[in-house]
C-alpha cells in the first residue's frame, strides 16, 4: 500500500509546475482575465504538445492514456497557477463525458481532436433551476434537434463543440451550428468565463445515454477539487510568506498565535482536501466500489474548506487582502466558482447521506 506518488507521477507534477510557472505566471493570468475569453492560442498549443489535452484519453483515440491520478496532479498544478482558459472544460468536462458515453467512432473523431489540441470543448448541463441532478433536467431533443437554454457553461465562447446533457441523452453540438447563441454571464471569476448557451432548433449528434454520465461527472468533480487544492496551496503559501514579512508592533505578524493558528488551519484543510482527492482519483482509476462516495467526500469537503482557506488568507493579509492588486482575491473568486461547480457541499453531503444512511435502511429492510 503506497499513498505517495510514483517516480513518473512526481515527474509529471514537477514538469507541470515548472511549465505553468514559466508559461503562465500571474502577470499572464491578469492579462488574460481582462480579455474577452481568457484564452490564449499559443499557450493552448504548448499544452497540447506536452500531452496535457489528451492526458487521460486512450492512445487509440490519440490520447496519452494516463490515469485519473495523473489527471488530478495536472489539474492541481493548473489550479495552483490559476490557469485561465478551457483546459478543465475541454479535458475534464467534455472529454470525460465523450470518453464515458460516446461510440468508438465518435471517440476517435472527437477525442483525437481534443488530444491534438485542434479542438476545445465544454459541457452544458445546468438549466434555470441550477440543479446537478440528472433527473431534474428539462431540455430534451426531438429528431436530433435541440431547443432550450443551458446556463453556467464554462468557456463556451472558445469551444469548438459543446457536449449537451439533455433529459433524453448526451448530445454534441458544433458551436458554429445554426440556432446557437452564446452570451457571457458576468460572474466573479474572471479567469474562467461563464456563458449561457441558447439552442433554437439546433442540429445535434447523439453521443449516448446518460447512464454512463455519472462516472464522467465524478471524474470532473475530482478534477475541480484538484484545482481547488492547488488554489488552496497557493493561497496558503502567499499568506505564510506575507505573515513572515509584514510587521506590526515591531514584529512579523506571523509571530502572533492568532495569525499562526489561521495558517495552521489553512494547512490542515489544504492537506485534508488533498488526501481526499488523491484517494478519489485512485478509486476512480480502480473502479473501486466506493469511488462515487470518495468523490463526494472530496467535493463536499473541498467546497467548504476552499472558501474557508480563502477567508483566512484574506483576513491574515489585512487591508492588503482586500485590494485588487493582491492576487489572493483571484484565487478566492475561482474557489467560489469551483465550490458550486458539479455540486456544492450541501449537494454532496446529501449524496453521502443517500449512500451511507438510506442504503443502510434499504439493506436492513431486505435482510
Amino acid at each position: 500500500m503506497e499513498f505517495g506518488l510514483s517516480e513518473s507521477q512526481r515527474l509529471l507534477q514537477d514538469n507541470a509546475r515548472k511549465f505553468f510557472q514559466g508559461e503562465c505566471p500571474m502577470e499572464e493570468v491578469r492579462r488574460l482575465m481582462e480579455t474577452e475569453t481568457a484564452y490564449d492560442e499559443t499557450l493552448w498549443a504548448k499544452m497540447a504538445e506536452l500531452g496535457y489535452t489528451g492526458i487521460t484519453f486512450p492512445e487509440e483515440y490519440g490520447g496519452v492514456g494516463l490515469g485519473k491520478v495523473e489527471l488530478i496532479l495536472l489539474m492541481e498544478e493548473a489550479g495552483r497557477a490559476l490557469l485561465p482558459g478551457p483546459l478543465f472544460s475541454t479535458v475534464a468536462l467534455a472529454g470525460a463525458a465523450i470518453d464515458a458515453v460516446a461510440s468508438t467512432e465518435q471517440k476517435k473523431r472527437y477525442l483525437a481532436k481534443i488530444s491534438s489540441g485542434e479542438a476545445r470543448a465544454t459541457l452544458a448541463m445546468l438549466e434555470g433551476n441550477a440543479s446537478w441532478d440528472l433527473g431534474e433536467l428539462r431540455v430534451l431533443t426531438a429528431n436530433d434537434r435541440l431547443t432550450g437554454e443551458k446556463l453556467f457553461v464554462p468557456d463556451a465562447k472558445v469551444a469548438d463543440f459543446i457536449v449537451v446533457v439533455a433529459r433524453n441523452g448526451v448530445f454534441l453540438a458544433d458551436s458554429k451550428a445554426p440556432g446557437i447563441s452564446i452570451h457571457a454571464m458576468k460572474a466573479m471569476d474572471l479567469t474562467r468565463k461563464m456563458y449561457s448557451v441558447r439552442f433554437t432548433n439546433t442540429p445535434v449528434e447523439r453521443l449516448g445515454s446518460v447512464t454512463n454520465l455519472p462516472g464522467a461527472l465524478d471524474t470532473a468533480a475530482a478534477a475541480v477539487v484538484a484545482e481547488m487544492v492547488g488554489g488552496m496551496q497557493r493561497t496558503l503559501d502567499i499568506t505564510v510568506e506575507y505573515a513572515k514579512m509584514r510587521k506590526q508592533f515591531g514584529k512579523p505578524i506571523g509571530m502572533y498565535q492568532a495569525v499562526q493558528h489561521q495558517c495552521a488551519d489553512m494547512y490542515l484543510e489544504t492537506e485534508s482536501a488533498r488526501s481526499a482527492v488523491y484517494y478519489a482519483a485512485w478509486a476512480l482509476d480502480e473502479s473501486a466500489p466506493d469511488a462515487a462516495m470518495a468523490v463526494s467526500i472530496a467535493k463536499m469537503y473541498a467546497s467548504d474548506v476552499a472558501r474557508r482557506v480563502g477567508n483566512r488568507g484574506i483576513q491574515v493579509h489585512g487591508g492588503m487582502g482586500f485590494t485588487w492588486e493582491n492576487d489572493i482575491h483571484l484565487y478566492y473568486k475561482r474557489a467560489k466558482a469551483s465550490e458550486t461547480a458539479l455540486g456544492d457541499s450541501t449537494y454532496h453531503r446529501e449524496r453521502i447521506a443517500r449512500l451511507a444512511i438510506d442504503a443502510r435502511a434499504a439493506s436492513s429492510q431486505s435482510a
Binding site: 500500500m1 499513498f3 506571523g254 493558528h261 495552521a264 484517494y279 450541501t346 447521506a353
Partner: protein, 395 residues
C-alpha cells in the same frame, strides 16, 4: 500511488487474522465492567499472549522482539485489532511511547534490562511529564534531581499520569541544571515506582472516573545509570516520546470512530425529530454525512502521512494535524449524538433509559479532554505554524 495491499502486507494481515482468530478472547465485554484491578490483570495476560505470538509491538525492530513492521503494516495491525474488538494491551504507554524512546536513546544495558519486560507486561510503565505549573509549557517543569554520589535525589510533583496506580516504572522528566535555559537543563530518568518516597494519588476527572494520577516524589533516590539519553539533553528525549504519541495514535482510532458513526446512523432511524426519523431530518442527515466523510478523511490523512514518513518510523511535526483532526472530530461526533438523542443524551450508565448504557453522555464529557491531552489543539497549531510553515516562534 497504489492503495491495494501488496503481497507482504496481505501476508502480514492474513497471518495476524489467523492468529487473532485462534487467540483473541471473546469474553472481554464481561471483564470490561469489572473493577479496574481485575480487568487490568486480564489485559496483562492478553498482552503476554500477544507477545508470545510476537504481536505485542509490531513496530519495534525484530532484534527487540517486534516485527519491524512498516507504518502501513502498523495501520493494518490496529485496523485488524479493532475489527475483532480485541481488548487493549495493558502496557499501552510502554509499548507505544516509552519502549520506542528507550530503543532510540537507551544504553545496551538499559535495553536489555527494560525492553523484554515491557513486551511481556511484566513491568507496566507510566510517563511523568506534566506538572501543576507545567502543562503546555512543559519545559518549565520544576521537579528537580540533584546528583549525590551515584544517585539522583528527586523532589517534585507530576500530574495527569495515566497508569500511575499500577505502574512499576516511570519515564520521568526532571530538572538537573536549574541555571541553564529551560530546555537545556532537563534530563529523563527511568524511575522505579516502588522506590521509597514515591506516592501515587488518584485524580478524579469530570466523567467521575480516575484514569489519571498525581505522583509525588520526596527525596527519591534514582541510580545514575537510569538516566535515559544524555544528562541535560532530556528535552530531545521527551520530544521523541511526544512525537510517537502524536503520530501513530490516530491510526488506532479510525475503526472506533467508524463504529460510533455507524451506531449513530443506526440510532437515527429510531429517534424522532420534527415528526419523522432523525435519519430523514434534513439537518441531521447533513450532519451525519459530514461526520461520516470526515472520519474517512482522517483515515486518508493518516495513510498519506504514513507514506511520507521514512522507514525510521519517527513521525515529524506533520503528526500535529492528525492530533487536531481526530480530537476535534471526536467532539463533533459526540455533539451530533447529543443533538440526536435530545434529553436522553444526558442519561448516564446505570439509568434504565440511558441509550447504549450511557456511552454517549460519557463520550460527550470524555472528548472534552481530547483537545487537551497529548498536547492541546493550541500547542499543535503552534507546532504547525513554527515547525511546518516556518513562522517565527511566538514564545
Amino acid at each position: 500511488m497504489d492503495l491495494n495491499l501488496n503481497a507482504e502486507e496481505r501476508q502480514f494481515r492474513d497471518e495476524l487474522r489467523a492468529w487473532l482468530e485462534a487467540h483473541c478472547p471473546k469474553d472481554w465485554p464481561e471483564w470490561r465492567e469489572k473493577p479496574l484491578e481485575e480487568s487490568f490483570a486480564y489485559l496483562r495476560s492478553w498482552q503476554r499472549k500477544l507477545d508470545e505470538g510476537h504481536w505485542a509491538a509490531v513496530s519495534w525492530p525484530k532484534e527487540y522482539g517486534g516485527r519491524s513492521a512498516t507504518l502501513m503494516q502498523q495501520a493494518i495491525f490496529w485496523e485488524e485489532m479493532a475489527r475483532v474488538e480485541a481488548p487493549s494491551m495493558a502496557n499501552a504507554l510502554g509499548l507505544g511511547l516509552i519502549g520506542p524512546t528507550i530503543i532510540a536513546h537507551g544504553t545496551p544495558a538499559q535495553k536489555k534490562r527494560f525492553i523484554p519486560k515491557i513486551l511481556s507486561a511484566e513491568e507496566i510503565w507510566c510517563q511523568g511529564f506534566s506538572e501543576p505549573n507545567a502543562g503546555s509549557d512543559l519545559a518549565s517543569l520544576q521537579t528537580e534531581a540533584r546528583l549525590e554520589g551515584n544517585d539522583y535525589i528527586v523532589n517534585g510533583q507530576k500530574v495527569w499520569t495515566s497508569f500511575g496506580w499500577v505502574a512499576d516504572w516511570c519515564e520521568l522528566v526532571v530538572r538537573t541544571d536549574p541555571a541553564a535555559p529551560k530546555h537545556k537543563g532537563l534530563t529523563v530518568l527511568l524511575v522505579d515506582m516502588k522506590s521509597p518516597g514515591v506516592e501515587v494519588r488518584p485524580l478524579r476527572q469530570m466523567t467521575g472516573e480516575s484514569e489519571f494520577n498525581e505522583l509525588f516524589f520526596r527525596d527519591v533516590r534514582v541510580p545514575k545509570e537510569n538516566v535515559l539519553g544524555q544528562v541535560n539533553d532530556g528535552w530531545n528525549v521527551a520530544i521523541s516520546t511526544l512525537m510517537f504519541e502524536r503520530g501513530s495514535y490516530g491510526a488506532r482510532l479510525h475503526l472506533l470512530f467508524k463504529r460510533n458513526i455507524d451506531r449513530l446512523i443506526e440510532l437515527s432511524f429510531k429517534f424522532q425529530r420534527n415528526g419523522r426519523s432523525a435519519a430523514h431530518d434534513p439537518l441531521l442527515r447533513q450532519k451525519l454525512a459530514q461526520c461520516y466523510a470526515e472520519i474517512e478523511i482522517m483515515r486518508l490523512n493518516q495513510l498519506r502521512a504514513f507514506s511520507r514518513v521514512t522507514s525510521t518510523g519517527v513521525p515529524g511535526p506533520e503528526g500535529s494535524i492528525q492530533k487536531i483532526f481526530w480530537s476535534e472530530l471526536n467532539q463533533r461526533l459526540q455533539q451530533i449524538a447529543q443533538e440526536m438523542l435530545g434529553p436522553y443524551g444526558q442519561l448516564t450508565a446505570g439509568d434504565s433509559l440511558a441509550v447504549d448504557g450511557g456511552i454517549w453522555s460519557y463520550g460527550y464529557l470524555r472528548t472534552r479532554g481530547n483537545t487537551i491531552e497529548a498536547g492541546t489543539s493550541e500547542i499543535q497549531r503552534n507546532i504547525i505554524g513554527h515547525f511546518v510553515l516556518g513562522l517565527p516562534r511566538s514564545y
